[in-house]
Symmetry: C2
Subunit: 358 residues, 2 copies
């Protein structure tokens, strides 16, 4: 804790002077510099800050869990992406689940759990409209709202069902299948009647997890042999849907494996997040024409209207024990940068979570 | 004529012996060998053949016009594409308009004009179900049913409206815009209220034709400077729809120019038809995610149900003088192979047509 205090002088919070004057001490992680390639510890700074007390319509939330996600890497660059870039010297942000500890908003009583977008900090003062109340499901940790019931879950759900238009009886391939999103894509496909579910992952342990725990029909380690060859063996009759988490040679392999009218949901290209020169695209892209393929990119934040549907359906599967998910939980705000980089490197299995209170 | 006779021994026509015994002499172009790269005259052979007289339910058609199209290049390879490959030693086929000269099919009287799939030959004996009766539109040649009112017209119509989902007020970019399909895409977009229509073509004359005759808002010669730079200048506010006729660097440029939620209709990649090693794909394909783009390939033969809609709407535009089209007409069946290669090399402006009777 004390190393947070010594890192940095507290930043005056805009508007603090106009409130009751009382402030709340909080710690946060800021962007110290922009990475060139892989992020390093130098890119992050720990800092202490003083928050203003909540005003009318606001709540003070103590964060319990925060999320580290691939898309945050893009926000560390100084370029307009699908989210605005993080600002130098300002705290990072992202999904978090917290508990309301002080409220000036009707209906958001202290003790209520909320999902919101002010992660990477201990406390946050937020407008009631920016917080979504979440219900605890018996046997399921609240961190699920950052994973299986949160943006990764929605990404899997919307990508497979709405973007790729998966239908019962089709064969599905998922790259990055041991990740937070990929593992759910495969399971949703299985629960909705896929004829075959194939996944790729970056280690033999993960591959075993896919077939033995998540119920994938086949899986392979993409580091061991060309993806195109391995996919052809794992899905000898071809695929109808490809859920792309990684880009690169996986997409080329999927194009080759597609049957006619195949659809790819393109969901971030983790393989190019940390490269400075983008790799060439797939050499076989012209297959899109002959096979009548559709490649469709999407950003989950465009599809928040589907969150209630997703939580209802996935929540039922969770309660019934039909859906398995795994978290890699790292304790302590100070370890969030390392957790983030580990996630980018694929150290985690399932959703990478940072627990702030334990 | 006599050089047809000397080229080749007539092929016995299967089933001829079982018919009335009378035969019809016809000339045809056969596939003599498969090209490696660009087709050459050696790949084609002229031949004379004897056709059986039509049986019950069949008509004898004399071809007036035949079509040469880019997709035929793919059929010259010995590989399953979206159409079956042409067979060595057998006549080529493709779209043709002819006149019924003998009929054993009710409702298809002699003198009726029909559109059918047995081009590359003087005469064809065809089942009534394989022939579609076409009406002559005043002032419009019958060859229009091979172009503006035929497969190129349907390709433009379906690709722009159904595949790319063009909507009034959007900006459209078309590659190969002086071709049979591209020129129609731009005009349909204009007639349906595009905010901006931009085309690329391979010569300054074609570029002038696009802006001066077809009503494109801007056009450029892709041989003169990088497509990405020229497109950025021609569509400084970006594009919503890209109609891809060529693949390659045009697609890369379109990906860069797309606004959010842009859609590409991918219609054949003429730039790779004659290359033996496919070029790398676009380096910026990951933009598909951030911009939420959709790339969708299609084959016009999947969309024949839209032919009546297209003929009705485009026919009205033609009658009203709202739609301009141009044909490059080559006379004589014996010149069809050269016309085909010229079309692949982009010598034509508008639809390349071979006239068999004049």
């Amino acid at each position: 804790m004390s190393d947070f205090m010594s890192d940095s002088t507290p930043d005056p919070v805009p508007g603090a002077a106009g409130s009751a004057g009382r402030t709340i001490s909080s710690r946060e992680i800021r962007l110290a510099s922009r990475p060139d390639g892989w992020p390093t510890p130098d890119n992050f700074a720990r800092a202490a800050t003083e928050l203003p007390a909540p005003r009318q319509g606001q709540v003070l939330v103590r964060n319990l869990f925060m999320s580290v996600d691939p898309y945050m890497r893009g926000r560390m660059n100084d370029a307009e992406s699908y989210f605005p870039p993080f600002q130098l010297g300002r705290p990072l942000d992202g999904g978090a689940v917290g508990v309301v500890v002080e409220s000036r908003a009707p209906g958001l009583l202290p003790g209520v759990h909320v999902l919101h977008g002010y992660g990477w900090r201990e406390y946050a003062v937020i407008d009631a409209g920016q917080a979504r109340v979440v219900e605890e499901i018996p046997g399921v940790p609240l961190s699920a709202y950052l994973g299986v019931l949160g943006m990764p879950g929605l990404t899997a759900y919307v990508g497979l069902l709405d973007i790729a238009g998966f239908r019962r009886g089709e064969a599905v391939f998922v790259s990055g299948a041991a990740g937070a999103v990929g593992g759910l894509v495969g399971q949703i496909a299985r629960l909705k009647g896929a004829s075959r579910v194939v996944g790729s992952a970056g280690s033999d342990e993960k591959v075993a997890y896919l077939t033995e725990t998540l119920g994938f029909d086949a899986a392979f380690n993409y580091r061991k042999a060309p993806v195109m060859d391995q996919l052809a063996r794992a899905a000898p009759e071809g695929i109808d849907v490809y859920f792309d988490n990684v880009g690169g040679d996986h997409l080329e392999a999927a194009l080759a494996a597609f049957r006619r009218y195949g659809r790819a949901a393109m969901c971030g290209a983790i393989s190019v997040y940390n490269v400075t020169e983008p790799p060439p695209g797939p050499r076989n892209l012209s297959l899109v024409v002959g096979k009548r393929l559709t490649l469709r990119g999407f950003i989950v934040s465009d599809h928040l209207d589907r969150l209630p549907d997703m939580i209802a359906e996935m929540g039922t599967w969770l309660r019934d024990g039909d859906l398995t998910f795994r978290e890699t939980v790292v304790d302590g705000l100070e370890n969030a940068p390392a957790a983030f980089v580990d996630m980018l490197r694929g150290v985690n299995t399932g959703k990478m979570i940072v627990r702030l209170v334990h």
